[in-house]
Structure formats: C-alpha cells, structure tokens
C-alpha cells in the first residue's frame, strides 16, 4: 500500500480534477489558434528578454517598422530567397520521413556546380544563368542522393550521413577555393567574380530575381503536395510505408525523387546566394542554413506555402537582428536565442493540439 497522501473519492468529487484526453480530431481553425497563441507567447518572451537587454519595446517597434522601408525590404527579400529554398528543401524531405540535415552540403555543391558553369564558360551568355541554376539543382540533388543510396541499399542512418557530409562538402569547397578555383588577382580564398550576365540582378520592382526562383519552387511544391497524386502518395509513404507498398504506391521511386527534389531546392539556395549576394564562390555562403532550414520547415509544418511566409518572417528577424547589432551592439546570439524561443513555443503548442485538457468534477 502507498502512503502518499491522496484525495478520497469524496474529496475528488468536491474539487474536481484535471484530465487529459487524446484528441481524435481537431479543426484547422482551432489548430491555427493554438499555434498562433503560442507564437504570441514566444514573441512576448522575446520582447521581454530584449527589454532586459536594454532595448525598449518602443525602440524595437521602430526598428521593426524600419524594415518596411524600401531599402531594408530589398535586403529582407534578398535574404528571404535562400531561406525559403532551404526551408522548402527541408520540408520536402521531412514529409516523407527523410531527415535531411545536409542542406549546407547540398547548398555548397549547388554553388560549386553553378560556379563551375561560370568558370568553364559553358553555354552561350544568354542562357548562362538558366544553365547555372540547373547545374546547381543537379549538384544539390546528387549530393543528397549519395545518402539516399546508402540509406536504401545499406540502411545507413541519414541523419548522421547528411550531417557529416556537410563537413566533407565544406572542405571540398575549401580545397577548390585555396587551389584550382582561387581568385588569381586577389589571392583571397574565393573564386573570381562572376560576369555580369552570370549574376541574379534586380528584376521587376527592384526585387532580386532569386526571390522569383524561390516563389516558383514554392508554387510547384505547393501544387505537388496539395493537389497532385504525388503529394497524396507522400502522405501514405510517411504514415505507413509497408502498407503504402502493398496498396500500390511506388515507394522506392517516390522516395528517391522526393529526396532528389529536396537536395535540388538546397542546391538552388546555394546558387541564389552565390549569384546574387556574393557574386562569386565564397567560403561561407551556406553556413547556418541547416538550422534555419529545419526551423522554417518545422514552423511551417512542412507546408510549402507556409514555408514562404515563415521564410520571409525569419528574413525580417535576420535583418532586424543585423540592425540591432549595429545600433545597439546586441550580440547575434540574441537573434539565435529568439529563434530558439519561438521554436520551443510552437513546439509546445503541439501538446494542446494533440490533447484536450478538461476540468471535471
């Protein structure tokens, strides 16, 4: 017998108690309310922490409003394109339960393939950018397919494999930048600058054309996942792969193609970074994108359309963070902490989406 104090049945009836039920279903609206609510809590916490760090909420509001100026907005949009593409790459793979943590490696190979097209002067100038984009997508896809092969053939865990291959990709990039592809004029560890027709420039309304690539990818992915047969199959693939195979879903082919698409998106993110912001192959155009990509995929619940929105918001956070760094000497770690707080807040909303808390008497 236990000696712990316990309520008699009688007392229980008087005070009631809290019970947890597993929800059988939940309306999308309610779900949105829970996610939105926890997002507000997360943001409130972040504002509080910044206030303690010496940035008054009023000043913060001014800085955030500052993003709305044309100049800042352009910066945000340039930043948003690779973030959205990385988030898209992560979410596609996550949808079928392939934990692609090698976004950086795939971005690096995307950049290398694109730069290769430039360095070896492949194709006419008029189609050069398109060719570079295609090469980048191919580079990212090939790099992740290496892991897909290992997983399917030898059951190698993809989390470790993709993550560690990031380092291999990084050092291969260094090998090129300190060797064959080093800029002979400056002797810095970066490639020679791309020619003007090899740069993603500002297109309509002064918006960088990298963003159009991102939006195009989002629309295609949105169509695939929400409307097409492929997206329907993907749901079964992640819910029960054994059963999916038996009812006629082409499991292997689908897995390989989705993983390749995930790598291709990351490769394009690399291309967008080298061809717009950097204008050449540098050492660090991919760093930090694994975390951001996973974060965006997670916050958007792997929905491509939401990925675009979240990617934009994360870009706002980045740019605001840069401003705070410059004007208030806030360390960049603060921006990362805010990201983390928001992730945790949204993660906790999952509990309320899955469970119903009731007070019964």
């Amino acid at each position: 017998m236990t000696n712990a104090p316990s309520l008699t049945p009688d007392a229980r009836r008087r005070f009631g108690r809290l019970t947890l039920d597993v929800r059988q279903s939940i309306s999308p609206w309610k779900q949105a309310v829970f996610v939105g609510g926890s997002l507000v809590v997360g943001l409130a916490l972040s504002v509080a922490i910044l206030a303690v760090a010496g940035i008054a909420p009023g000043a913060l509001a001014t800085e955030l409003a500052g993003v709305a100026t044309a100049e800042s907005l352009r910066g945000v949009l340039i930043q948003a394109a690779p973030l959205v593409l990385a988030g898209l790459g992560a979410s596609l793979a996550f949808r079928i339960g392939f934990w692609n943590l090698g976004l950086e490696g795939q971005m690096i190979f995307g950049g290398i393939f694109a730069a290769g097209v430039s360095i070896y002067d492949i194709g006419p100038a008029s189609t050069r950018l398109v060719l570079m984009g295609c090469a980048a997508a191919l580079g990212g896809a090939l790099w992740v397919l290496l892991v897909a092969f290992l997983k399917i053939r030898f059951r190698v865990n993809e989390i470790i494999a993709t993550l560690l291959l990031n380092y291999v990709a990084t050092y291969f990039l260094f090998h090129l930048l300190y060797g064959a592809w080093q800029d002979s004029k400056t002797a810095f560890p970066q490639s020679s600058p791309f020619r003007p027709f090899e740069r993603l420039t500002e297109g309509v309304y002064g918006i960088n054309s990298g963003l159009f690539i991102a939006i195009g990818c989002v629309l295609v992915a949105g169509w695939l996942i929400h409307l097409s047969r492929l997206g329907y199959y993907m749901r079964f693939l992640s819910a029960n792969p054994t059963m999916a195979g038996i009812v006629g879903v082409p499991v292997k082919m689908l897995t390989v193609w989705i993983i390749a698409a995930s790598g291709a998106c990351a490769g394009l993110a690399g291309f967008v970074n080298v061809a717009s912001q950097e204008g050449r192959l540098t050492q660090s155009y991919a760093s930090g994108y694994v975390f951001s990509g996973v974060l965006i995929a997670f916050l958007s619940r792997n929905d491509p359309i939401v990925v675009a929105v979240v990617g934009f918001l994360i870009a706002v956070l980045f740019i605001t963070g840069q401003t705070l760094q410059v004007f208030y000497q806030t360390p960049f770690a603060m921006v990362q902490m805010i990201q983390a707080i928001i992730v945790m807040a949204v993660a906790s909303s999952e509990f309320f989406i899955r469970h119903r808390v009731r007070w019964i008497r």
Partner: protein, 500 residues
Amino acid sequence: MTPALQLTDIRKSFDGALALDGASFESRFGEVHALLGENGAGKSSLMNVAAGLYAPDSGVITIQGDAIALKGPSDARARGIGMVHQHFKLVKPFTIAENVLLANRRPHFSSGIQAIRAAIVKQAGELGFDIDPDRRVDTLTVAEQQQVEIVKVLVGGVGILILDEPTAVLTDTESEGLLEIIHRLARSGTAVVLVTHKLNEVKRYADVVTIMRGGRTVAKLDPKQASAAEITRLTVGETVPLPARATTDTGPTRLNVGALSYTRGDGRVMLDGANFHVRAGEIYGLAGVSGNGQAELAQALIGAVKPQSGEIWLDSIGDISRASAAKRRQAAIAAIPADRYAYALAGSLSIADNFAVAHIRSGRYGGVGFLRRRAMRREAVAAMKDYDVQGARSVSEKASLLSGGNAQKLVIAREFSCAPNVVVAHSPSRGLDVRACAAVHQRLIAARDGGAAIVLISEDLDEILSLSDRIGVMSKGRVVAEFDRPADRQDIGRAMVGHG
C-alpha cells in the same frame, strides 16, 4: 460474501465520445466471470478502468467492500488487481525474469532477479506452464508470451486477474489449455475476469457472464442456464442469420502457385516448394498450424515479400512472383492481410484517404496533376454506408479511430470496390465479433459468386470448413494435402499435425 471487485455506474468518454455509459460489474473470488460483448461494446474500456489505466469520469470502484480511487496501474496492482492485455506489454530483448522483475520491483537487482526467478518457476509449475525464466521474450511464441504475462501478474500476488481476449491470438488447442488453467486458477480462489466475444468459451468455462452492449452492461446471467440463442440476442441486439451457401460452377484455373520457395532473412525456410491452384469462382481454404508458412505465402501473393524461386501465375498476365504490388493491383488482386494496422491501413490518415488510395493509380479520382478530393470523399461515404463501417463521425476522421471489426470492414470496402479477380484473405475475421465476422464471410462469398478466385488462409478451422470449396493443408512451407467439400474435420486435423 463481499464481491472481490465491484464497479458501479461507470462512465467514461474520450474526446466527447461516450465509451462507457453507466456500466456496472461485480466479480467474486473463486469464479470465472466472463465479460461478453461485440467489438467496441466497451469491455476493454471497463476493464481498463478496473486496472487503473483509465480514470472514470464518474462512478465508484470498490475492492473488497472499500470504495477507492485508483491512481494508476501500479496502484491497482498493489491492491491486487492485475490485467493481461490483448497486446502484450513485454520488453522484447529482455529475458522473462527481467520482464517479470520490471513489473514487480525489488530493492536490489541481483538479489531481486534471483527471487523473481524462483517465483517464476514456482508459479509456472503451479499453472503447468513450461517456461525458462532466462529466455529472451523475442524468442517466445505468442502463446508463451501470454504465459509470461499471466505469470508476471500472478507473481505480484494478484487476487483479481483480468484477461482481455486471451484466446484471440491462440490456436484451438492452445486456447483450450489456457482456459482449463484459468478455470483451475479460479477454483483455487482467484477472481478471474475473462473478456471475450466467443460464446463457446463462455458456455464452457464461465461461472457467470456479464453482457455488454453500447457501453452499458445489459445482463448478468448463468451461462449454464441461459440458452446460446438468448446470450447471442443479448450480445448483438438481434439475431444474425448465417450466410446461406449456394454452390456455384467453378471456372478455369485463375491462379496457380508453383514450387514457391521463400527463405527468410534469418535463414529459416518458410516456403518450401508450395503448390496449389485456385479456379475462378472458388474459395480455396488453406488450413494449418500457425507458423507453417501461411503468413509468408499471403505476403508473397500480395507482393510484400519476394520469393526466391517458383511462380505465381495469373491467367490474365502470367507470372507475377516478382511483379510490383502496383502491377498486382492492376491485375485486380485484392489483399486482406492478417495484421490490418501494419499492412492495410495508415492509421494517422483519414478514413477517406485510406479508402481511396488503392484506386488512385487507375485514374478513378483524376490524373497525375489533380486529384478530385470531393469524388474520393463521396465514394468513401457511400462505401462506409454500404459496408456498415461504424465508429467514426465522418470519413475525415483518422482510420486508427476505428475498432478492429470496423477497420476490417474498411479494408474490405476498399479491396472489393473494384471487382477483384483474386482475393487473398489472411485470417479475415481475426478479432471480430459475431456480426462483423458474418458480414466479412458474406462479402467473401459474394466475391466468389461474382467469379473471383479466393485464397482464404486461416487458423480457424471452423471458418475454413464453412466457407471453402476446396481445402489445402499447409505444413512446413508446403501444401501437404487437399480436400474437396464436404471435408472431414478429423482428416484435416490429422493432415495438419501429421507431417511433422
């Protein structure tokens, strides 16, 4: 005499759906008390309340006259209530002794495991189980795992033993052995609650039966006195007619399995040159003691495993032994696997999705680019009505919400929604109640009458005998004997065990 366990007016709802609606139950020491009801009647829910797994919304639990509030399963265990669940709660890579120790904690591991080992041997000896405490659980058969579960509970000094559908996973002989032991256990003073939906078990082994229907306890009677017809009527609410059998002309050979061999990854030969054929418009029953290659044969037919040699020949397209599952679908092979949650349903997706998925490729719901969701939903709704799938408020709810019988009806609705050429049904009525079982059998017969070739693999000999036009017996990966209808039960039984 005070009742051992008394549950009064128990109510419990899950997310708004009422599972128990004022159920009452009372069991005494020295009795086998059967709790009878259809799938989803609330039997397991009620017993989970008694075992401390669910806290009731209202109602009173009394143990030997004291009203109590159970804080959890370990609290229930401390008060002498132990439950053996339908799905065993064992840690597979652990030994039997370690599993029993886990549930009956001792202050020190090394001395504790010795004490537990001795207790297991003693308890198993009393019950007549032959179990070695040092074997790993994953090397045990299902029947042995169940014995471990029972020993685990009894070692803790439990006076009230609840068994949730203990015979669902056992063969006929194993079931009889177990029920004899349960009967003896009760006679030695334990209060045994036997949750079941099998009428013959109740008639033969129970001292008292409480019947549940729709979350309520509807009757408590003496099964020796009451007639089977009356008990059935109380259980299902109305009498269920048995499917009438019409003999049909059988057509040409539709499916031929030739010298099919399959060796499992661990080197065990599961199919060793199996041969048989099935004609159109025929139910071919495959009987056998579980583990003689039936499961692997079913998987090879539906494309879940690839046999190393031999052929599976289908009259419309030829050999399909290495064809993809998708190609088999195109040839209209319907699959009703034994483990429906692992092989036939995606529990986290909606009922409508689970219904429609098999027909996506045929273009029934639109092309590659756009799926017509509304058509999928509409057809799912119609099929659910047609096949009497109950337990969900709409087809957008998750398939995992459905109880065993209704989940099986959903699988059958999907598999039969485009006239199948061949049906592979493995234990299609496992875990189903009388009414659901009859519905499944009717569907199989209707498919046969529609000209399909049906392979019925079952360990339930009654099911095989009542449905099959021809019967094959499997032993050690081969079909060792065939019988035409009407087959003699004794002959089949001899063939099943005779080829050791």
